[in-house]
Symmetry: C2
Subunit: 143 residues, 2 copies
DNA sequence: GTATCTGCAAACTCTTTGCAAAAAC
DNA sequence: GTTTTTGCAAAGAGTTTGCAGATAC
């Protein structure tokens, strides 16, 4: 499951959706910033440099669509705005280290929770589809 | 660290804050619903039964204050509204099982992550203060 | 008595929606 | 050509803020 324009095109085609320049540009933003967790406003600001006529509504609709297509994943850091990154939820899990002072978000890889999911299914009768793990604290610079 | 009116009174006193009827009522709401994850609107609805004159602003300000006092903990389930529960973040951790269909939130206890925190401190130079773990999926009734 | 707190309404932020014009296929 | 998509502006949800009057201590 690669994050390329071709993959996007295919997924759009499967859904009878169209590949518009706006969608292309937004896709490029994410391929060029694979490590970041971009809010709608972040994307808007970046897109506007090359496509000043683009509207906020398009950003929101596109992020929403990409999330449904499984290309992006919506994350919520509790700061009141949604953020998006490439969605590889079923491939490997990375979690987030959120600095309470400067707000930067680092990543942390771990497979530890995969075992936990089956425990939960048995113990609680809850079928786990996804999980999110966030650590709050102070990063290298701020501690 | 008990969740009693006396504890509240003491914490308010330490901060030179006053114990008003509104704050008392909101505290009672949480002691009477220790298992729930209440939004501002939830609290507003419950408070209004006995104190119809209370305003939304007071709810928000009180929840905010209680969170600062360490009495409540704000949680974000990604549904666009903040939720609150008693904060026992440094005592024991419970995590949340969020049903994608009916929206109910169940709890799940585990200490597994405590070991992980020290790994993160060493590996990433990140000082962990708190963590939140959420599992998304389908509950008993909805699966 | 004085500083804090409340209730109200207005403002603010993030996000969604309705609609006519524009563009992809 | 037809259906989807866009841009705009207006509406919507949740939350915050300013202020004058009320209240805890």
């Amino acid at each position: 499951m690669e994050h390329t324009l071709d993959a996007l095109k295919q997924k759009l085609y499967d859904r009878e959706c169209k590949l518009t320049p706006q969608r292309k540009v937004i896709m490029e933003i994410f391929t060029q910033n694979p490590e970041k967790h971009l809010s709608a406003e972040d994307v808007y600001g970046m897109v506007k440099k090359t496509h000043p006529e683009i509207g906020f509504a398009t950003i929101y609709r596109t992020l929403d669509l990409f999330a449904e297509l499984g290309i992006l994943q919506r994350i919520d850091f509790g700061d009141g705005r949604g953020r998006y990154e490439f969605g590889e939820s079923d491939v490997h899990h990375h979690h987030h280290l959120i600095c309470l002072k400067c707000g930067t978000v680092a990543e942390f890889d771990d497979d530890l929770l995969d075992g936990l999911e089956s425990v939960i299914e048995k113990r609680n009768g809850f079928e786990v589809v996804d999980h999110q793990l966030k650590f709050y604290g102070y990063c290298n610079k701020c501690r």
